[in-house]
């Protein structure tokens, strides 16, 4: 009902705006010189029509009704928005975040006592339980609206149930708390590694492992005063798993001859045993390993060089060398490089060998001139998720030690 009513309000407003004499957005942009999304003048331009331009046009048309100046609305429309809680009162000009409603939505999959299952179509996420937990818990954490301690304890138990052990072969010298050179001797032994998978009895997987560790970290990092038992439970679980995680990570190594002048070794990582190698795995492993302080030199060996090979001629990063520059993979690559360069004591990201200038140029060009949001690849469509992937990448660059900092338009 609320979606329909908002849409009705917005469409009626658009109809009205075509007939009123309020200062148009494009004129405002000229006067203030600031970027204002939804300015017709900055819709995408083309001299040739093709599938790309058609899809882009359709998207711009769909987005257009949502770029409304609240100040220019008539009193009835404003009252509608006020009733929905989207604006504070008739004098407001900013949309409010509906915190309680978002929190209620996020809490749905986490019901503990009144068992509420997700609809049948969610079977496609049956191998992604830790993701559902992490997405919702992280959202609630940002909203300062975490569930009660019983629910958090339940989550820790659920995540523990997603843990599986796997037989691995490790270099006998690969220890958790020491920095050992992996090339010293090839003696290997059987060991038990492990990680968090998508559900009970599922193989450990880098992505679900990342999600599970992050979710546990949120709980472990809770104010001990508020959630004493849950925080302790989560922290203990993470501590117990450090050793196994390192062994499992090492067993995912995919070493190869680097595509560089010297032909020196570079190392990608698989997402799972007998699984695909791409830069997501490198990031997930870097992130978890640095959180849990198991980012050993064995693990890092060849990692950075592999990531750098994933940078394309466009400046962004793809999932594998030569794969198309893509917002999601760029975030992963950049996150990994940031962690690695810091761990290696490097002064800045450029020391990794990546082309900082080309990356920066590619990133800023992912912002859409009309919509204001970001696309994931050149000549593709805007999508809210890329506000995170690309927006975060831009933020990461701002953390770089050099003076080349800026925030996005």
């Amino acid at each position: 009902y609320q979606y329909i009513s908002i849409t009705y309000v917005l469409y009626s407003v658009l109809h009205q705006q075509q007939h009123n004499t309020t200062i148009s957005k494009s004129i405002m942009a000229e006067i203030t010189g600031n970027f204002v999304p939804g300015t017709t003048k900055y819709k995408s331009k083309y001299t040739v029509v093709n599938q790309t331009t058609s899809l882009q046009q359709t998207t711009e048309t769909e987005c257009a009704p949502f770029f409304i100046s609240i100040a220019s609305l008539d009193p009835n429309s404003k009252r509608d928005l006020e009733r929905l809680g989207l604006i504070q009162d008739e004098n407001s000009t900013n949309i409010r975040l509906l915190r309680k409603k978002h929190a209620a939505y996020l809490r749905r999959p986490l019901y503990f006592k009144n068992v509420q299952t997700l609809p049948g179509s969610y079977i496609s996420l049956d191998s992604s339980k830790p993701w559902i937990i992490y997405w919702t818990l992280h959202g609630l954490d940002l909203l300062d609206d975490l569930p009660d301690e019983d629910t958090l304890i339940g989550i820790v138990h659920t995540l523990e149930a997603c843990w599986s052990n796997v037989n691995v072969k490790v270099n006998v010298n690969a220890k958790v708390n020491e920095k050992v050179n992996v090339n010293d001797g090839n003696e290997e032994e059987d060991a038990l590694g492990g990680g968090f998978g998508g559900g009970v009895g599922q193989l450990p997987h880098c992505a679900t492992n990342y999600a599970a560790v992050n979710a546990l970290s949120i709980i472990a990092g809770c104010d001990v005063g508020d959630y004493p038992d849950a925080a302790k439970l989560a922290l203990d679980l993470l501590k117990r798993k450090r050793d196994s995680l390192l062994k499992w990570f090492l067993s995912l190594r995919y070493e190869r001859k680097g595509d560089n002048e010297k032909g020196s070794m570079v190392c990608g990582y698989r997402m799972q045993h007998d699984g695909e190698v791409d830069v997501r795995a490198t990031y997930c492993i870097c992130s978890v390993a640095s959180l849990l302080n198991i980012l050993t030199s064995d693990l890092m060996d060849g990692m950075m060089e592999h990531v750098v090979e994933c940078q394309t001629f466009e400046g962004g990063f793809g999932g594998e060398p030569f794969a198309e520059a893509h917002g999601g993979y760029t975030f992963c690559a950049l996150g990994a490089l940031q962690i690695l360069t810091k761990a290696k004591g490097m002064a800045n990201l450029e020391q990794s060998g990546m082309d900082f200038v080309a990356l920066r140029n590619w990133l800023v060009n992912r912002q859409m001139g009309y919509e204001g949001g970001f696309q994931g690849r050149c000549n593709k469509l805007v999508d809210g998720c890329y506000t995170f992937w690309v927006g975060s990448a831009i933020a990461i660059l701002g953390l770089d030690g050099t003076n080349q900092q800026f925030d996005s338009g």
Binding site: S44, V48, N50, Q202, E314, A323, E324, N365, R377, G409
Partner: protein
């Protein structure tokens, strides 16, 4: 993983196929299925050794079909595409000869697979997994005839949609024969530039060719900066770019500065030229983009102008 051992892997295979219909994203089921297939496959010789898993021919054929069936409604599923790759790794890595006649059945498999991918791309010309799989095949077989055939395929895609950035990306892979470390000859760069300019001319607003254009020149800049060959290349490129802009303004009666990616490319060229006049032109262009033509990237262009000014001084 401590799975119970199955005495009847054939039955386990059947079960995995059933399970995968419910959830083709269950990566554990795929992994387990491959364990069963491998255990039922007998390598050609008793001392057969390979870093890749060996699957017998009929299993490969059958499971490619299974993957196609499941992949149809799930074109963006990682596991289905990886299954195809894993099935084919052993036989594709075996191809060392470039002679079309010597590889027989494996070559047939290569062609079928490339055709399958083309079919997927026909429905979604930018499917990331499809392109990734295609790139893997071309790199692992490394056949000159396939590289050259791919250029034709890319050209067809660009004819249909000159803004297909995935096709542009593929062109970079193919022209470089899958290598980042082998120096790209300046003659090849010149040829590529001609092609790119012809495409940029079709729609000067299009970002893809201008990005490719700048990358080609930058690559040569890194290899042979300040050599007469580079100077000649840069001059040719700058003239070609100016010509595109002039022609656009003549035909459309519009302001060529609106083609912000063309202007951005020009700024990059001027920066590489590096002389005082070029740099001050570059600063001017950057300021125009910042203040008027590319407001969403206002702060970026301001920074760029500042940095160029510093170099100019």
């Amino acid at each position: 993983m401590n799975f119970p051992t199955f005495d009847i892997p054939e039955r386990a295979l059947e079960l995995t196929a059933l399970c995968l219909r419910f959830n083709p994203a269950n990566y554990t089921t795929w992994w387990f299925r491959r364990q069963c297939l491998a255990s039922l496959s007998t390598p050609p010789t008793s001392d057969f050794e390979s870093k890749y898993t060996y699957f017998s021919e009929n299993f490969i054929a059958n499971d490619l079909m299974l993957a196609s069936k499941l992949g149809g409604s799930n074109p963006k599923n990682y596991q289905v595409w990886y299954h195809r790759r894993n099935l084919l790794e052993q036989s594709f890595s075996d191809m060392t000869s470039d002679s079309d006649t010597e590889c027989g059945s494996v070559l047939e498999l290569v062609n079928e697979e490339l055709e399958y991918i083309a079919g997927v791309l026909d429905k979604d010309s930018k499917n990331y997994h499809a392109w990734s799989h295609r790139q893997w095949i071309l790199k692992i077989i490394n056949m000159e005839s396939k590289w050259t055939a791919e250029i034709e395929y890319i050209n067809d895609l660009l004819e249909a949609d000159v803004r297909n950035n995935s096709a542009w990306n593929q062109r970079w892979l193919v022209s470089h024969r899958g290598s980042k470390s082998k120096p790209f000859p300046v003659e090849a760069a010149s040829e590529e530039v001609n092609f790119v300019i012809s495409k940029a001319r079709e729609d000067p607003y299009n970002e893809s060719p201008w990005r490719y254009f700048v990358a080609l020149i930058k690559e040569q800049f890194r290899l042979i900066a300040s050599s007469p060959e580079f100077v000649s290349l840069v001059d040719t490129c700058e003239n070609a770019l100016k010509e595109v802009k002039e022609k656009f303004e003549l035909e459309s009666k519009k302001d060529g500065m609106e083609c912000t990616h063309l202007i951005a490319a020009h700024i990059d060229i001027l920066e590489m030229k590096g002389d005082e006049d070029s740099l001050s032109s570059a600063v001017e262009f950057a300021i125009l983009l910042e203040s008027r033509y590319d407001p969403v990237r206002k702060k970026y262009w301001k920074l760029r102008a500042q940095q160029l000014q510093v170099v100019a001084n």
